[in-house]
């Protein structure tokens, strides 16, 4: 139930506060009642039919950077 995949927002209906999202290529209606400022092309997490937090691309890139650095300090990959 806590599991969720990131899904990108394809379209938003502001009247109903709903969005069409595409997790892994599937189209799905989700509610936007729990998030603010979502725009088309944003990525959101959708555990049980409700969009939660927007994903931050900048933070994701920042997270990936230390992975690469860990590799550098550890020498050659095994």
């Amino acid at each position: 139930m806590c599991l969720a995949l990131p899904a990108n927002v394809l379209a938003i209906d502001t009247m109903t506060d709903m969005a069409i999202v595409s997790p892994g290529g599937v189209r799905k209606d989700v509610s936007l009642a729990l998030v603010d400022d979502v725009r088309v092309d944003d990525f959101v997490m959708i555990p049980v039919g409700y969009a939660f937090n927007k994903l931050s691309e900048e933070a994701a890139e920042r997270t990936l950077r230390p992975f690469a650095e860990a590799g550098l300090t550890a020498g050659e990959p095994v």
């Binding site: 139930m1 806590c2 509610s31 555990p47 997270t63």
Partner: protein
């Protein structure tokens, strides 16, 4: 950036593995509890344990909502459909959880009861709108992730005057459960479970933020790293925990910054606070009675509370004989220590709740762990 493949890269996993092997001190062990079943599954599905040095061990926690639900609550739900002829709606995992007398909601459904598996509480609302002549009960379950959607639905039902909809609330709270584990005799006095640090849940934390963990990181002097659900997230978080332990720090760090902030989702938090209040005590499978660990509907929403609309007496029910779910949920035993594991208890025919869910530890061991190379497993036992 698709936020999935990037965090499953093979080369980076091996580089992180090498970095972890270099970081660990050979003269100590590192017991890291992943509270959340989502992490347990990531660890098994991607073979993360085998990428760790032998002195880094994962201890599986109780963060699987159907696993910690006591059997009595499923018995209550069965009574709702059988005695009150309601349409009962719930998430898929709940249907297969064994109840008393070898029954389950799925078996009761097969016998003719109107039980519907829903993907979202919105589906339950729609079913109530479409069936004005029937009572529709949503069997609400889950940690802080699934609570805000239930709150939205309760407010919507009240706003629409949907008189035939109610909620059987079983929402539970993560920080209370972690504190209960840290205060348990096994961890505190007997030392039979060692826990050096915690992986903080991914999506629970997206709602509650990283701040609620600060209290027990400080109080119990255990580091916490909020970790994403992808394998590289788990490995990076393990490295962060190992570094904290090596340096004698016990702080809350956040690896999952692409989703989790310190404050969390304040919109969701205020909705939950408006609709729900703390129960003084709630029973958890494995943990027993845990104070202030669950939610119920506030008085203002009492008309939508299934426990007030129907009679749902507290039912004391015991687990199947031999089932080790309670010990597994506390990290005291591993699934392979259970006599029923893989013999009479399998995902197709679960005896205990931990085998049912895609978040349960036994299901993770069964689905992925049984394919581990024997030499790896024996190396781990010997260590």
């Amino acid at each position: 950036m698709k936020y999935i493949e990037e965090f499953r890269q093979h080369d980076l996993a091996h580089q992180l593995s090498a970095a972890i092997s270099k970081a660990v001190k050979p003269d100590r062990s590192y017991h890291l509890m992943e509270f959340c079943g989502g992490h347990t599954h990531a660890i098994f599905r991607y073979g993360v344990q085998d990428l760790m040095p032998p002195n880094v061990k994962f201890v599986h926690g109780p963060g699987c909502p159907v696993c910690v639900l006591p059997i009595g609550r499923i018995d209550n739900a069965i009574a709702l459909v059988e005695r009150h002829d309601v349409i009962l709606c719930t998430y898929g995992d709940v249907l297969r959880v064994p109840a008393s007398g070898r029954r389950s909601l799925l078996k009761v459904k097969a016998a003719g009861a109107d039980i519907r598996m829903v993907y979202s509480v919105r589906d339950a609302l729609r079913i109530a709108q479409e069936n004005p002549g029937r009572q529709v009960v949503f069997f609400a379950i889950g940690f802080e992730t699934t609570t805000p959607p239930t709150a939205v639905a309760i407010r919507q039902a009240q706003a629409e005057g949907l008189g035939n909809f109610s909620v059987f609330c079983n929402h539970v709270l993560t920080p209370a459960a972690i504190q209960n584990i840290l205060e348990s005799p096994e961890v505190r006095d007997m030392g039979s479970v060692s826990i050096d640090g915690f992986f903080g849940p991914s999506h629970v934390s997206s709602i509650i933020g990283s701040r609620p963990y600060e209290f027990f990181a400080e109080e119990f002097q255990k580091p916490v790293v909020i970790a994403g659900f992808e394998p590289l997230d788990v490995m990076q978080s393990a490295l962060m925990l190992i570094r904290q332990l090596n340096e004698g720090r016990y702080e809350v760090e956040n690896e999952y910054t692409r989703v989790v902030t310190r404050e969390g989702n304040t919109k969701a938090q205020s909705l939950v606070a408006e609709v729900f209040e703390l129960r003084r005590v709630f029973e958890w499978r494995g943990l027993g009675l845990v104070p202030y660990s669950a939610l119920r509907l506030k008085e203002a929403y009492a008309a939508l509370d299934a426990e007030k609309r129907f009679d749902t007496p507290a039912i004391a029910a015991s687990d199947v004989k031999g089932c080790e779910c309670p010990s597994i949920l506390r990290g005291v035993k591993r699934p392979v220590d259970c006599k029923l594991f893989g013999t009479v208890c399998t995902p197709e025919n679960p005896m205990g709740s931990c085998m049912v869910s895609s978040e349960g530890a036994c299901a993770a061991y069964w689905s992925y762990g049984r394919f581990r190379r024997p030499e790896t497993a024996s190396r781990e036992t010997a260590a």
